[in-house]
Symmetry: C2
Subunit: 350 residues, 2 copies
């Protein structure tokens, strides 16, 4: 049994996204059926649609920054009721029994989490998962977030990936008042990193090659700008940073940044999921510095982030599009021509 | 005022070490004068003698794994008296006022510590420091360690560098019972890493390309061996390690090792002070893994290590040499032909 749902899909790595009908499962007893209002457009959507990572299953429906309203619930669902404003991020299931799942860190599930798109759902006959560029999605209630009603739901959509990806390492490494935090790179991730680190009470420095982006970051909450191509400025800031959030989306050298860290301080990579250049180990040894990675966030911390956003008025800066502009939006995203996240108004999908 | 002391020095990057007379300062009120009994031979000694790091000051006297007896003390020294068995490691002074110094982590001193050799001693007219290949050394009491009398003093000498370099990260990252620790590389550092991790109660796995070294490591306390060139074996051990101590002394790729780490687990680089190959950031993001560096240790933790060694009977495996064999020992060290540390019997220096 399944429900036919209008969506946007691509049929191959070289084709545009176009209208397509998909099937969603009839809600199981612990499922929530969600009518999608908004879906953010993540760089991963583009990578997946174009098979940049060589694991795309076609037809492919991207989208993992989903906000919607509950359309119906399975018989045993207790946390949500029809009409609730809810959200779905990058995960729709996981083993639920490994240590990471038990700690609420489902993104690090030993068996691998079931991602919102591009996974074979091993609990349901290995059906390929299809994302949020659609009118509706059906998700187990344990992987549905409660979206606070006081947030602009469109501007809140990117919190589900860009938001949690930057929130999680900032929390894990205890960013707060008295700390100086550098955010490297100002895109979808970086602009949320600036907003969160500022809202957490840290002194925030935007680290960028572009003075224009520096100015933009000041409007988002940065206290200062460090131009990474200015060698004297970089040298003057050596050993001044408690934490660096590295949001650069492609492989790069860490050498220019490592010396900025204090003793025992951490550089967290959240943007690049690819080979990095070499680094000089002496920079790590010299002050016991750390390089770490961090990947999205678990359900529990995602809910905590949404509640923090509601309490502190944090949302993304977005540009709303109708779904028939998605292919153009991808091109603009490739050209870094978006401040800072496209969000699809799903009412535009007929 | 100064004291003339017999030593071994080299006059240039291409000359052998040879007998040479050096001057030590007359002990200041808080100084300890130490007659050197034994001095370990560290790979850094060779790098320094041959100017591999481009900062050698000639004439150069290496040596920073020093054990000796107190020959005299300044008027205000209270911690040591003539005849005490003592030790000096890599550090002989630091600013004493920065946060790192106040925390007992003088190796990370903001002003840079004064190293036992190769530093310009900025508290004493920028005189070049001269190391332990000598009959005597004069050191501020705050940088002198108490050597437990129940340890073999020759075998204890390498604890001052090879020992503390491996001890410090194992303690910092809370290695203990219930943990699986991989030691990568079996040389002067690696053999101490195996002994310490074993003595701390961890399950120890020697990670090496050489089955012979694997067998040797089992005799030193390793519980298991993982041959890093065996792809199937490496794959089977993915996600099994709580901590990796990377003692490889030259630049290398971390990619083969990162996947061995559990979630939130750490690979600590202690051997390579040079450019590393690139690594795949996805391996860090996937389980929030960490790469850190660690450099020798502070005075407080070095004393703790010596006391631990006394309580647990831990010393280095050494080969004793007379000082006129030092040049041959360097060549053998370059060929990895030592198990695991040369120690100079300073009685051989006339």
């Amino acid at each position: 049994m399944s429900i036919t749902v209008a969506a946007y899909a691509t049929q191959s790595a070289t084709e545009n996204l176009a209208p397509f009908s998909i099937e969603r499962r009839t809600p199981e007893k612990d499922d929530v059926s969600i009518d999608i209002l908004y879906c953010g457009v993540c760089h991963s959507d583009l990578h997946y649609a174009r098979n940049d990572w060589n694991f795309t299953i076609y037809p492919a429906v991207p989208g993992h920054e989903i906000v919607g309203r509950v359309a119906g619930t399975g018989s045993e669902v207790t946390s949500f009721k029809t009409g609730d404003l809810v959200a779905v991020g990058c995960l729709v299931d996981s083993c639920r029994t490994c240590a990471s799942c038990e700690e609420g860190l489902e993104q690090y599930c030993d068996q691998g989490a079931v991602m919102t798109y591009g996974s074979l759902d091993y609990k349901r006959g290995k059906q390929p998962t299809l994302g949020g560029y659609a009118k509706n999605i059906v998700v187990n209630e344990g992987y549905v977030l409660r979206m606070p009603e006081n947030l602009n739901p469109a501007a809140a959509a990117p919190l589900l990936c860009a938001g949690i990806t930057t929130w999680s390492p900032l929390k894990e490494w205890n960013v707060g008042p008295g700390m100086t935090v550098g955010v490297i790179g100002l895109g979808g991730l970086g602009h949320m990193g600036v907003k969160f680190a500022h809202a957490m009470g840290a002194r925030v420095v935007m680290i960028t090659t572009s003075p224009d982006k520096g100015n933009d970051a000041m409007k988002l909450g940065a206290d200062d700008v460090l131009i990474s191509s200015d060698k004297d400025a970089m040298k003057a800031q050596r050993g001044k940073f408690d934490f660096l959030l590295d949001t650069i989306p492609v492989g790069h050298s860490l050498n220019p940044y490592l010396l900025l860290l204090k003793r025992d301080a951490t550089l967290a990579i959240v943007g690049a999921i690819e080979p990095m250049d070499g680094f000089h180990a002496g920079m790590l040894l010299a002050r016991r510095r750390r390089i770490v990675g961090s990947s999205i966030g678990g359900i529990k911390e995602t809910q905590e982030m949404l509640d923090f956003c509601a309490a502190n008025g944090v949302v993304s800066d977005i540009e709303m599009i109708s779904i028939d502009n998605i292919n153009e939006a991808y091109e603009r995203m490739l050209n870094n021509d978006v401040k800072y996240r496209f969000v699809i108004d799903m009412a535009s999908l007929k």
